[in-house]
Symmetry: C2
Subunit: 195 residues, 2 copies
Amino acid sequence: MSNDLPLTKEAILDAAEQVLRRYGPDKTSVVDVARALQVSHGTLYRHFASKASLREAVTERWLHKIILDPLEAIAVQSGGSATERLRTWFETLIRTKKAYAINDSEMFAMYAAVTLDAVEMINTHVNQLIDQIARIIEEGMKSQEFKSFEPIVTARAIFIATSRFHHPVHAKEWSSDTIEQEFASVWDLLLYGIS
Amino acid sequence: MSNDLPLTKEAILDAAEQVLRRYGPDKTSVVDVARALQVSHGTLYRHFASKASLREAVTERWLHKIILDPLEAIAVQSGGSATERLRTWFETLIRTKKAYAINDSEMFAMYAAVTLDAVEMINTHVNQLIDQIARIIEEGMKSQEFKSFEPIVTARAIFIATSRFHHPVHAKEWSSDTIEQEFASVWDLLLYGIS
């Protein structure tokens, strides 16, 4: 890319993701990303004031693309069983997190680190996920598959109660032999609760 | 202590806990503990072959004393509401973990680290906790407060579903303003499930 072209946020994040993957989050600086884009670091600093904000923005985009958008496609489906849709939503979340923890370990490690620092961005992300769950629960309340609850409160409770299976601090436990059986028994209990 | 006295396991663990608290788990060696006990490190190595096994044994004793024994006192109570006893058991677990994370941060950090390494010891500890929960659930099934379940499976599911509130990887989240409200909504959902 030449520095004659306007520097879009997408182009910066593409370059930053590449550089972060190559050197790792600890060794990547804003200057490295500016170099990859062939712009001065002054130019890049006008868009991202720090290495931390660049890392956060790359993680945010990654979470949108690999987690939020595919799950939104499940949440917006209508008709059929809300119970099945809710389970598909959670199984997709869990399967995706596990696959990335294994196959894209650099990005996953960066995400796990950002989780501890970028509290506000992660809260927004989690609230978007909980909103998707709440919409499925509302559908299930309408079809009388589920009892009547405050959808957001119940959605948050189910999300928290399944933390073991999707929160990155538990990633080491996801390769356990018993993890699927454990998910099944937690899921049965939660479904007894809402059905 | 003189090296003329027999070296009991308790005496070694007392000395090791003191030394670990003073120097921290990373800097403490078996030799430091031997010196505190005024025995040769050869003598100590006959009891504990490595720094890791000493650390594990100190953590195991600590978990027994501060977690397992007080919770056993709740589990063995009989009469009264099993629902209330189950909630008291969990609230005690959660309150104790949180208090130690704040007020005994050296031991808590060592416990959190050992959790990742001493998988077998931690599994045994967790199984002992789950057995206590299962006994309360059995009482609740007898009194018809709870529906009929396989007590151990349900106990494990409830333990896992409340991980956010007691698993040491989540310790940073325990000081959140909303954590008590989150526990209350997870708890309500789990109780709907079993009641």
